[in-house]
């Protein structure tokens, strides 16, 4: 238990600490109570976010429980009334001396070359509490110097002091028990199992919590020493969780990201993507100057003035023939500036910061929000109506997992596939694509339908019992399947709202600051502050669009039909990232001017006529709106390379080229206007944002009401065999991972997952690839029999090396049916 679990407890436990009468909270550990009263007890194994184990004995202190003083480990001992604790007694000192002398027997003198040197708890404790001299003259224990236990983490076993932090983290927090103690006595070591690398999405956390230099981050190896580093508190923009981070740089280069212990968000944990994707800023492939296509030639470096002039010429036409895609990479300020430029100046409403892989904007904006702490509050019920959180929102996954395992939260899965949380779920309802709305509707008492009857009766009963209104219910809501229309998810949301009045939602979208983008009006039909376009009054804007725009699907179709002349890509790469590859290609090739604001020449930017170089994470000041509606700072630590600019400055440049004053030339002016225009931001104190602990949760109340109809009937089974489930893996071929050297190789090869029963029915034989047939379009794919796949479905992840599943997807289809047969000849 952590101190934060019961902050409101007022019934104190009186005890004596170094002669002073103080009070501990109920059930509080002695080590925490001492910390709160300003007495630091040295420790190695104790970590406030994990269960104590008492491995290292460094926290031994003199405790008198009425029978005379004796040494007790402070991390294992809840404070009981009237004990007398002495952390400075002779016995305590001699115990600390002894523990450190023993720990240093086998610990090598690597400090000058060790990446932990300078910020090492073992160094610090030795200096503060150690004996100063060693009596050990024998040879130390030797192991092979650092062995890679995963592509991201090196293990130096000589340095390990066996504190059990990493192994506990892997087992208890991440649920990936891939590292463990092996051997006995002096030969005990931490290691992986043979042939099983420590391929956890969370392996970097073990590096951060290691109290010595035994676990080291490969990307940070020998890059800098702690005293070189400058630090700012920022927010990770890798997914919508918005994990709080420390961004560290040395000599104007980002060198490291550490998790910041934020009670409300990530508890100090990060996914490896949060932690290591900063390398993208150092990529050699960065676009550092504007690029311009002159005539039909290749893209060539150009000046800002020429590039913006060319872009401005294309933007001057009929606003209904201009569209914007993307914007989830931008910070709030960049999103506002672009929303104002495109909607308030140019006057188009064809804007979408999602690429058909999220939720309809009214749903993402209009549902009552829950916070992560509300979702994870002890005793609640959580409905997972979305993707596997481990793959798409890994830091949120750690919070959810802790809530289920430690705090008695019950999980109901309403997903098209088992997820990483299935083993812990109280009710598992895995719905064939198209049926989730019906299944959710049947959770109400007395309702039944065909789809619900297909679910296991015991799971339905368990889910109904959990939703009987006796426990608070929250929903983690996202897009679980790209090959299935979001309308079925909407049906399920409607059903849950009717069943549980007052249910709140956590919109678990995937793309960085996409919820900020929606809030800032980078979506059709809305303006900053979640206000509907129609009838809105925006005095600081020259005007507002006079038509309701299209979403990404609509924009793509219109562009492919020649109804759009100019598309602006705000960090979006539809060629690789839009679920319908053929449509994206047709659209981008048909438009006459393509303007890309990006840091890389992505497949889409390579088609562009103008590329404007943008600053990335850690290179510009701004803020981030996470899935709770929490506004937290995202600060610059290094300067953008070359002539790259912050996104809001790019908008200002373009406005200038258009001959218009956007109304702000500094971030402060922009923020002042933003606060006055977007009512949800009216209360934000921008100056205090960087110093606020977790950032304020904005009151995202809407003036309009979101309504849902009855659940649609699921599409009838066709002659086609299986229904396709397409989702994301954490490691894929996205630009961020591809341009980070140590993440580029982590994407697993694309594989078709089939239920073993279906494999047998289809007559597939091991070693022969399957041929996937969708309306005559065929794709050959390696496959694997996977019992976790729901029968009559087939599962694939998008953007993996091997084959491109997007060739099977067509936007606008309610579900995607495929036919599978064995490939004729040998492979």
């Amino acid at each position: 238990m952590t101190a934060t679990d019961n902050p409101q407890t007022t019934t104190g436990v009186p005890f004596t600490l170094n002669g002073k009468a103080v009070e501990a909270r109920k059930d509080e550990l002695l080590i925490d109570a001492a910390d709160r009263h300003g007495v630091h007890i040295p420790r190695f194994c104790y970590h406030p976010r994990m269960n104590p184990v008492g491995m290292c004995r460094m926290c031994l202190v003199d405790v008198d429980m009425g029978r005379g003083p004796g040494l007790q480990p402070a991390c294992m001992m809840p404070v009981t009334p009237d004990i007398k604790v002495d952390t400075e007694s002779e016995a305590t000192k001699s115990a600390q001396d002894g523990v450190l002398e023993f720990l240093l027997i086998n610990h090598p003198l690597d400090c000058p070359v060790c990446d932990k040197g300078g910020e090492c708890p073992l160094q610090d404790n030795t200096l503060s509490f150690g004996p100063g001299e060693s009596r050990f003259v024998e040879e130390k224990r030797h192991y092979e110097k650092p062995i890679p236990i995963s592509p991201l983490v090196d293990l130096d076993r000589e340095r390990c002091i066996l504190c059990d932090r990493c192994t506990r983290f892997a087992k208890e927090v991440a649920g990936d028990p891939l590292i463990h103690f092996i051997g006995r006595g002096a030969q005990t070591q931490v290691n992986t199992f043979p042939d099983h690398p420590f391929s956890s999405y969370f392996s970097g956390n073990t590096v951060q919590i290691c109290p010595v230099g035994a676990l080291l981050a490969q990307p940070y190896r020998f890059k800098a020493r702690p005293w070189d580093l400058e630090t700012v508190e920022s927010t990770s923009a890798v997914d919508t969780t918005g994990a709080r981070v420390l961004v560290q740089s040395s000599r104007n280069q980002l060198t490291r990201i550490l998790g910041l212990d934020s009670d409300a968000v990530n508890w100090g944990w990060l996914s490896d993507k949060d932690r290591f994707a900063y390398q993208v800023t150092e990529s050699e492939n960065r676009v550092t100057e504007p690029m311009l296509r002159r005539g039909g030639d290749d893209l060539t470096p150009s000046r800002w003035s020429d590039a913006t002039k060319t872009a401005a010429r294309a933007l001057r036409g009929d606003p209904a023939r201009v569209a914007v895609l993307g914007g989830a990479r931008l910070n709030i300020e960049g999103q506002y500036a672009w929303a104002k430029l495109m909607k308030g100046v140019i006057g188009t409403d064809h804007v979408d910061c999602q690429l058909s892989d999220g939720l309809p904007a009214p749903m993402a904006l209009g549902l009552p929000r829950a916070t992560i702490n509300q979702v994870c509050a002890p005793g609640g019920v959580v409905v997972l109506l979305g993707p596997d959180p481990k793959e798409e929102l890994p830091t949120l996954y750690l919070r959810l997992r802790h809530a289920i395992v430690e705090d008695g939260v019950s999980l109901i899965e309403l997903t098209p596939r088992p997820t990483s949380l299935s083993d812990l779920a109280a009710a598992r309802l895995h719905c064939v694509p198209g049926t989730v709305g019906q299944v959710a509707a049947a959770l109400a008492p007395g309702v039944s339908n065909e789809s619900a009857d297909a679910q296991p009766a015991d799971q339905m009963t368990a889910a109904r019992a959990l939703l009987d209104g006796s426990r608070p219910v929250t929903v983690v809501l996202g897009r679980a399947n790209l090959a299935e229309s979001a309308r079925y998810t909407a049906d399920a949301v409607g059903a849950l709202q009717r069943l549980v009045p007052g249910v709140t939602f956590l919109p678990a979208l995937r793309r960085g600051n996409v919820l900020g983008g929606l809030e800032m009006g980078l979506t059709a039909g809305f303006l900053p502050g979640g206000v509907r376009r129609a009838g809105a009054n925006f005095p600081a804007w020259p005007f507002v669009p006079d038509f309701d725009g299209k979403d990404a699907d609509g924009i793509m179709r219109a562009a492919a039909n020649g109804e759009i002349d100019t598309i602006v890509l705000l960090g979006a790469d539809p060629m690789e990232d839009y679920p319908d590859a053929a449509l994206a290609k047709a659209a981008l090739e048909r438009v006459s001017t393509l303007i890309a604001v990006d840091a890389f020449v992505t497949s889409s930017a390579a088609e562009a006529d103008v590329i404007l170089p943008a600053a990335l994470f850690g290179e510009s000041d701004g803020s981030f709106l996470n899935l709770e509606g929490r506004l937290s700072p995202m600060l610059a630590k290094v300067t953008p390379p070359g002539q790259a600019k912050a996104d809001w400055m790019v908008a200002v440049e373009l406005a200038t080229a258009l001959g218009i004053d956007l109304g702000f030339v500094t971030l402060a002016e922009l923020r002042a206007e933003l606060s006055s225009m977007a009512t949800t931001f009216a209360s934000v104190d921008w100056n205090r944002l960087a110093s606020a602990d977790d950032g304020p949760v904005l009151p995202l109340k809407r003036q309009w009401v979101l309504e849902f109809g009855d659940a649609a009937t699921p599409p009838a089974p066709s002659s086609y065999g299986l229904r396709l489930v397409v989702d994301h893996k954490l490691w894929d071929q996205g630009t961020m991972a591809q341009e980070s050297p140590s993440l580029a190789g982590l994407a697993p090869p694309a594989l078709l997952h089939l239920n073993p029963a279906d494999v047998e029915a289809l007559g597939l034989s091991e070693g022969t690839p399957a041929i996937i047939d969708r309306d005559g379009a065929t794709l050959e794919a390696p496959w694997v029999a996977d019992p976790s796949v729901v029968p009559r479905t087939a599962r694939m992840a998008i953007r993996l090396p091997g084959f491109d599943v997007r060739s099977l997807l067509t936007v606008g289809r309610s579900v995607t049916n495929i036919l599978i047969r064995a490939a004729g000849g040998t492979h």
Binding site: D110, C111, P112, V113, G117, G118, K145, P146, R221, F222, A224, R225, W227, D228
Partner: protein, 224 residues
């Protein structure tokens, strides 16, 4: 008429002759010998190598961290496994000292855990551009004979390159007099293990030369 008084000074000084002399650095024949240098003169640095030729620097950046003038820039890197530059995992990949900033305080020498950086008695160097003032690792590293490399703008006399780590050897590990005469450092390329020099317990006539030697009492401690 105040300005006439001013001219008066000029005219009076006219006939007094020149007191500034050109520094000849020993080139002026027997009358212009270089003055003997003090035992612990702080000249420019060298990066030492072990007897087997390996570099002593491991790129730990402690020297850069301790430098009060922020004149040292170091970056470490993984030793190439087939051709290691230094013993262990890490070597100094970049090592630069900016002599426009260096104040020759020798804190870097004290901080160095491997005796890699020491100061010579070479102090006669002047540059005509800033790039020359930044000594790179190639320039600081001793040559294959263990001697400092002479750079074009450095003024040397024979034998001056012998004293590359004298100050280091005069100081006992942990500064304790009990270590007097004990060799506490490793061998160097070109010199092997050098003999210990006289340290804290030097004979009285040696110690007399040191100005603070006679008033070394607690009540004067603040003057040191």
């Amino acid at each position: 008429m105040g300005y006439l008084e001013g001219f008066g000074v000029t005219f009076r000084k006219w006939g007094e002759g020149v007191t500034t002399r050109q520094y000849l650095g020993g080139r002026g024949g027997s009358s212009d010998q270089k003055a003997p240098k003090p035992e612990r003169l702080h000249g420019r640095h060298v990066l030492n190598r072990y007897e087997d030729g390996m570099e002593k620097c491991i790129g730990c950046e402690l020297c850069a961290g301790v430098c009060p003038a922020r004149c040292i820039y170091v970056r470490g890197a993984d030793n190439p496994p087939d051709e290691p530059r230094s013993p262990g995992e890490r070597y100094g990949y970049v090592y630069e000292i900016n002599y426009l900033r260096c104040i020759h305080c020798d804190l870097c020498v004290e901080a160095c855990p491997t005796e890699a950086i020491t100061e010579t008695k070479l102090f006669e160097f002047s540059f005509t551009n800033r790039a020359d003032a930044i000594y790179t690792k190639d320039e600081l590293l001793v040559g294959d004979d263990g001697k400092p490399q002479q750079l074009p703008w450095e003024d040397w006399r024979s034998g001056e390159d012998e004293h590359t780590s004298a100050w280091m050897r005069a100081t006992a590990p942990a500064g304790k007099a009990a270590y007097e005469g004990v060799v506490g450092w490793s061998g160097e390329l070109g010199y092997g293990v050098r003999a210990p020099e006289l340290g804290q317990t030097a004979p009285p006539d040696e110690a007399d030369r040191e100005s603070g030697a006679h008033d070394d009492h607690d009540d004067h401690g603040g003057h040191h």
